[in-house]
């Protein structure tokens, strides 16, 4: 290795080697766990493809055991992948410039023959490459292990945080956002420890906000059942929790207990007729919306990361550094 790349490698090699070792260990564990899982599926002749949704209609002791055995470890892997952006922001981003500013070594680095542009670009590019590789591998491991038992009965669904935040392009984009946020915090705060705290707060806050507002990005589908026909089952979809009655004009009444039933109450048909309801509805995000949500959040994370990198470049061009 030559020039600034050698310096970037020398300063980040502890992180790279530690990260690679952890990733290797996790990969080995996932491979073993998934092999056990597929062995169990084939030895018990479980038709996982035909068993999707809450109402998969395939409840058996074997299937429940399959899910019981894998839910916990899958959640652990999902948590690791979900936490990765924070970990990267704290341990990789915050010291990337923060430690140089804190210890004064930036004066050493910036008075050598190479300019600040190449110095920063190389070290940030190396960190970016490692972030993309690390987060992509973890996201792929989550998807690979989860896919046979996805969206089944009481298993993990695509919209669960353990899955949605832990896989797909949004997980990689979020890791890049974490790196950029950590780097910017280190540069602006000039000290590693407070920068670590700041990036922890920032990434967790953005994640919480996105999880809270996710269902507002796009409109759910309206599933209608006429008369007193049973409502369509949710299956692998993600219910918004909103359901109720429709009248002849198509107006929605989000009053689930408008026609309760029980001792001494009119039956559903009578009640609906009395109140002028002609059907029932619920709103649901079908499982195909996974990718829509993923691309939206990928865009948000990449946009935030781009803004932060622009801020970093702007600040680095100024003198003094803040």
């Amino acid at each position: 290795m030559k020039g600034t790349l050698w310096l970037a490698w020398r300063q980040q090699r502890a992180l790279i080697l530690t990260g690679a070792a952890v990733l290797l260990a996790v990969t080995a564990w996932v491979v073993v766990m998934r092999m056990d899982m597929t062995d169990f599926i084939s030895s018990h002749h479980i038709d996982t493809a035909g068993c999707k949704g809450w109402d998969g209609g395939c409840e058996s002791e074997a299937v429940l055991k399959l899910l019981d055995d894998n839910n916990g470890p899958l959640r652990a892997l999902g948590s690791l992948s979900t936490a990765l952006p924070v970990i990267i922001g704290i341990f990789w981003g915050a010291p990337l410039l923060g430690r140089e500013l804190e210890s004064g070594t930036w004066k050493l680095a910036l008075t050598q023959g190479v300019g600040i542009g190449r110095w920063f670009t190389t070290r940030f590019a190396l960190a970016t490459a490692c972030t993309v590789i690390g987060s992509a591998v973890l996201a792929a491991l989550v998807a690979w292990w989860w896919s046979p038992v996805s969206n089944m009965l009481n298993g993990l669904y695509w919209h669960d945080g353990y899955i949605f935040n832990a896989t797909g392009p949004a997980a990689v984009a979020c890791a890049l956002f974490g790196l950029a946020a950590g780097t910017a915090a280190g540069l602006l705060i000039r000290r590693t420890l407070p920068a670590m705290a700041a990036v922890l707060g920032a990434v967790v806050a953005v994640r919480f906000a996105l999880n809270a507002f996710r269902s507002d990005w796009i409109s759910p589908q309206l599933w209608v059942s006429q008369g007193d026909a049973p409502r369509r089952e949710i299956g692998s979809g993600w219910s918004t929790g909103e359901f109720g009655f429709l009248d002849a004009a198509g107006r929605k009444y989000a009053i689930p207990d408008a026609c309760a039933w029980g001792e001494g109450l009119p039956d559903l048909k009578t009640c609906m007729a009395q109140k002028g309801f002609t059907g029932r509805y619920r709103t649901v995000f079908p499982s195909s919306d996974f990718w829509t949500f993923q691309w939206i959040e990928t865009g948000i994370f990449l946009g935030l990361a781009a803004v932060l990198v622009a801020v970093i470049c702007f600040v680095l061009k100024r003198r003094p550094l803040p």
Binding site: T4, T105, K107, A109, T111, Q112, G113, G115
Partner: protein, 301 residues
């Protein structure tokens, strides 16, 4: 402005303001190439600010500073300048060998052999961690890193602070040997005036962000006189009335005695006065103590 090759560092109405006020203001000077300049001044006089401006780590608020005619921080200026910051930053987790490799990888023109020679001459193992070195050894490594760059201008901010007396001579000896070898221009700041006396041949004295003294040390000593005599009770400062007050740098009365430093004076005292040329240290101390030059302050404004 001409890019005079005999000028290493030229300031023109140079100023730098921080939130707390001006650290340097309206400074004009031209430090000669091939010389060893002492940058002297009390704490907060703007010495470190000047070093940071000269390396491009800071930009001036007003005016202009040039390193061999180039803008500080530009490629041309960076290639010719080496800077040893006050806290002598090094990467504590690097080995000495890696520290020298850092210099090689980040500089186009790098003299690895001489950098390694400087380190070996200090009996510093190349595989030692920089964080485990003594302050003296770390200074030697930092100097090796600076010299390996083959700089034309070497900027040393308090290079001897925190070093024991033996190591101070050793470090200063290294710098002087580099100057003897390559004719490097050196600008160094220090609070220990006696250490500068034998090493420096030019002096730039800053006080409150302004240049108070700038010149060849020998000529400055030759053009100032230290006079001691019987105080004249009729005057405020104890000096006889025929002394041109514009030439008085400082004057102090102790009992019946007056002790003063005069510059460019053609005052020829009557017999009982003791008149001698000041040492550099004496001269610098007088200027550091003196608040008198309202004239100088007026000149700087």
């Amino acid at each position: 402005m001409t890019d005079d090759p005999t000028t290493a560092l030229r300031a023109t109405r140079l100023g730098r303001r921080f939130r707390g006020g001006w650290a340097l203001r309206d400074c004009d000077f031209a430090l000669p190439a091939g010389r060893i300049t002492a940058l002297v001044g009390p704490n907060g006089a703007g010495k470190s600010t000047l070093f940071h401006l000269a390396t491009g780590l800071l930009r001036p608020t007003s005016g202009d500073l040039r390193v061999f005619g180039a803008e500080p921080g530009s490629q041309a200026a960076r290639d010719r300048t080496a800077f040893l910051a006050q806290d002598k930053p090094l990467y504590p987790r690097f080995t000495v060998d890696e520290t020298l490799r850092f210099g090689r990888e980040l500089n186009g023109d790098w003299d690895h052999a001489s950098a390694e020679r400087i380190v070996r001459a200090g009996n510093i193992p190349l595989d030692a961690r920089v964080g485990a070195l003594s302050p003296g050894q770390a200074t030697r490594v930092a100097l090796a890193l600076a010299f390996g760059k083959r700089p034309d201008l070497l900027l040393l901010d308090e290079p001897l602070a925190d070093l024991d007396p033996l190591v101070r001579i050793e470090a200063m000896g290294l710098v002087m040997a580099e100057v003897a070898d390559r004719g490097t221009t050196v600008v160094m700041s220090s609070h220990v005036l006696s250490e500068l006396e034998n090493a420096c041949d030019h002096v730039l004295l800053l006080k409150q962000g302004a240049v108070r003294l700038d010149g060849d040390t020998q000529r400055l000593c030759d053009t100032h006189v230290r006079v001691t005599g019987l105080a004249d009770p009729a005057t405020d400062d104890g000096l006889p009335p025929d002394v041109d007050r514009a030439t008085v740098v400082e004057a102090a009365v102790t009992g019946r005695q007056v002790h003063a430093l005069l510059r460019h004076s053609d005052w020829s005292p009557a017999e009982p006065w003791i008149v001698e040329n000041p040492s550099l240290e004496d001269l610098l101390l007088a200027y550091l103590r003196s608040d008198q030059p309202a004239e100088a302050a007026g000149a700087a404004a």
